[in-house]
């Protein structure tokens, strides 16, 4: 049972209150033809809330704050997605949200014991390799999707959590150094560099350039935490070296980017607002149209624009619910990934894993929101939990599960732990 029953009850009440106030807003202010639509939506949201509040107690955790924030944002997402272009319960998105919750708990159980997961590192590398082979064989050189009869999946999304796990490391692993010529190296760091290179090449081949910054962000975090031990201090030399390296990679990337990317970097959306700047121009007009408090749920016009529910979802929300609500939605996601700052993980492996998850979420949100606001070129990356898309939703759930695992870890040696060979006591004895 939860150690803080008062906090649990208050958290439940306030999550329900937040969702209820949104539903009341839809009832009085929304664009619907039949009241049944609002009732179905409200019932589905409140049932999911209550069922999750009960289910989460079956998982023995020390901290449940991330769980509450997750259900808060997921049901907000269901409400947003059900209101675009008129109120109507979005069953598909509701199911993907449930899948995200299941994935979250799976991620939690999988990553709780960091010693066990560290022993599975080879399997993690193998799984990433398998996914890369699947992408090579089944998606084609200009696509990132595998289409089945009625739905499609994006295998590159599933690489993200595995890559976060590959980047996570323990202090002990970083002390296993081997001398090559005059340099002490950790074999795993070289393997990780090779893996990152392979992923970058694959993404380039698939033309999934929007995901590249996410992978690079995860790797940059992992790399920094591998070369510096932040418990004491970051080495300035190493930080400058890493920054310079990043700059060189960015310059080379921009210089050799495909023509359509070069075009996006320089497009003036207002001069070309009926051409390549169409989506961004409409997204900005939508945000301006919504103002601080929005035009009302279901009353916007951005649902007529392509990718209104994924790529420019921030603008669609801002138009219907207002900029204030849109920014608060972003704050909720940021608070969810900032929970490790309140309750820091007790193991370095979990710390690096949390940093990887945070990097992935922050980069994805920045790409989407700044892209919608024309601060950077349009990338087509989704906002975790808000945009539609089964693959993205499940993977985001899995990664939040990893964050939960860092909050409620288990410190147990795996049962089948391999014994290290004892080092001969060649030294003198006291």
């Amino acid at each position: 049972m939860y150690a803080n029953p008062v906090a649990y009850i208050f958290s439940c009440i306030f999550v329900l209150l937040a969702h209820s106030s949104m539903l009341v807003n839809i009832y009085f202010n929304g664009n619907y033809t039949d009241i049944k639509e609002v009732i179905v939506l409200g019932t589905a949201v409140l049932i999911l809330d209550i069922v999750y509040f009960v289910v989460m107690l079956f998982f023995k955790q020390i901290s449940y704050a991330v769980d509450f924030l997750l259900i808060l944002i997921l049901n907000m997402s269901v409400i947003f997605q059900s209101c675009f272009g008129g109120v109507g319960f979005n069953l598909k998105h509701y199911i993907t949200c449930i899948a995200a919750l299941v994935a979250c708990k799976a991620g939690f159980l999988f990553c709780r014991n960091h010693k066990w997961i560290q022993e599975q590192k080879k399997l993690i590398y193998a799984a990433i390799g398998c996914l890369m082979v699947i992408i090579l064989l089944f998606t084609g050189s200009r696509s990132m999707w595998i289409n089945f009869s009625s739905f499609s999946i994006q295998p590159s999304e599933f690489i993200k959590p595995l890559f976060v796990l590959a980047c996570a490391t323990s202090v002990m692993d970083q002390q296993r150094r081997h001398k090559i010529l005059f340099v002490n190296v950790v074999y795993e760091n070289i393997a990780l560099l090779g893996l990152t290179g392979a992923i970058v090449l694959l993404q380039w081949w698939c033309r999934d350039l929007g995901s590249l910054p996410t992978f690079m962000g995860i790797y940059a975090c992992g790399f920094l935490l591998r070369i510096c031990y932040p418990k004491a201090k970051f080495s300035k030399k190493k930080l400058i070296f890493a920054g310079a390296l990043l700059l060189v990679v960015a310059v080379i990337g921009i210089r050799f980017a495909p023509e359509y990317v070069q075009h996006r970097l320089h497009v003036d959306i207002w001069n070309d607002k009926n051409g390549d700047g169409w989506q961004q121009a409409q997204a900005l007009i939508g945000i301006a149209n919504g103002g601080w408090f929005g035009v009302g749920p279901g009353k916007g016009y951005l649902h007529n624009i392509f990718a209104y529910d994924c790529d420019i979802v921030f603008s669609t929300i801002c138009e219907e619910w207002g900029l204030l609500y849109g920014l608060m939605m972003v704050c909720v996601i940021l608070i969810m990934i900032a929970i490790p700052l309140i309750n820091p993980p007790r193991s370095y492996f979990h710390g690096t894993m949390s940093a990887g998850v945070c990097a992935a979420f922050v980069v994805q949100m920045a790409l989407n929101i700044f892209g919608s606001c024309n601060l950077i070129p349009f990338t087509g990356v989704t906002i975790p939990f808000i945009s539609t898309g089964g693959s993205s939703m499940v993977v985001s759930g899995l990664m939040i599960g990893m964050l939960m695992a860092c909050q409620s870890p288990v410190f147990k040696e795996p049962k089948n732990k391999k014994k290290l060979k004892p080092v001969p006591a060649w030294r003198w004895t006291e």
Binding site: Y64, Y325, E430
Partner: protein, 139 residues
């Protein structure tokens, strides 16, 4: 937009704000539970030297001369990265991570050893006692 709609939007925004605030407070309350749980996992142990105590706040404690070590012993007889303390199943273990002068537990040279209360650990010229954490007031 009429005043009714404005009020509803403001109410929804305020409810979300309040909810977020409550969840942040919940996270802070849970921090206490997490600390208690850690004390249980780590058996409330600490390393002590003459006039100094080192808290064992995470599951891997790097001991050495280097500035990035968790427990820094600025002594030339101690290697930059000398030894590692790890905890699992409630037991602390010390492991030599390639030091020059070795790790001695109660006078015996060890590569890896499970620590018990009041064990004396010698790293170079430094002697540390592995003991139960003491309350400030008792001291």
């Amino acid at each position: 937009m009429n005043s009714m709609n404005l009020i509803l939007c403001a109410v929804a925004a305020t409810a979300l704000d309040l909810c977020t605030l409550i969840l942040i407070i919940t996270a802070y309350r849970e921090k206490r539970s997490a600390t208690k749980n850690w004390d249980w996992v780590a058996n409330s142990m600490e390393l002590a030297e003459q006039g100094m105590t080192y808290d064992l706040g995470c599951d891997e404690i790097l001991i050495g001369r280097h500035a990035s070590a968790d427990i820094r012993l600025p002594d030339l007889s101690v290697s930059r990265y000398h030894a590692m303390l790890t905890v699992s199943n409630g037991r602390w273990t010390i492991t030599d991570i390639g030091s020059k002068s070795g790790v001695f537990v109660n006078g015996n040279l060890v590569h890896e050893a499970v620590l018990h209360e009041n064990d004396i650990i010698k790293l170079g010229n430094r002697r540390l006692v592995f003991r139960k954490r003491r309350d400030e007031r008792v001291r």
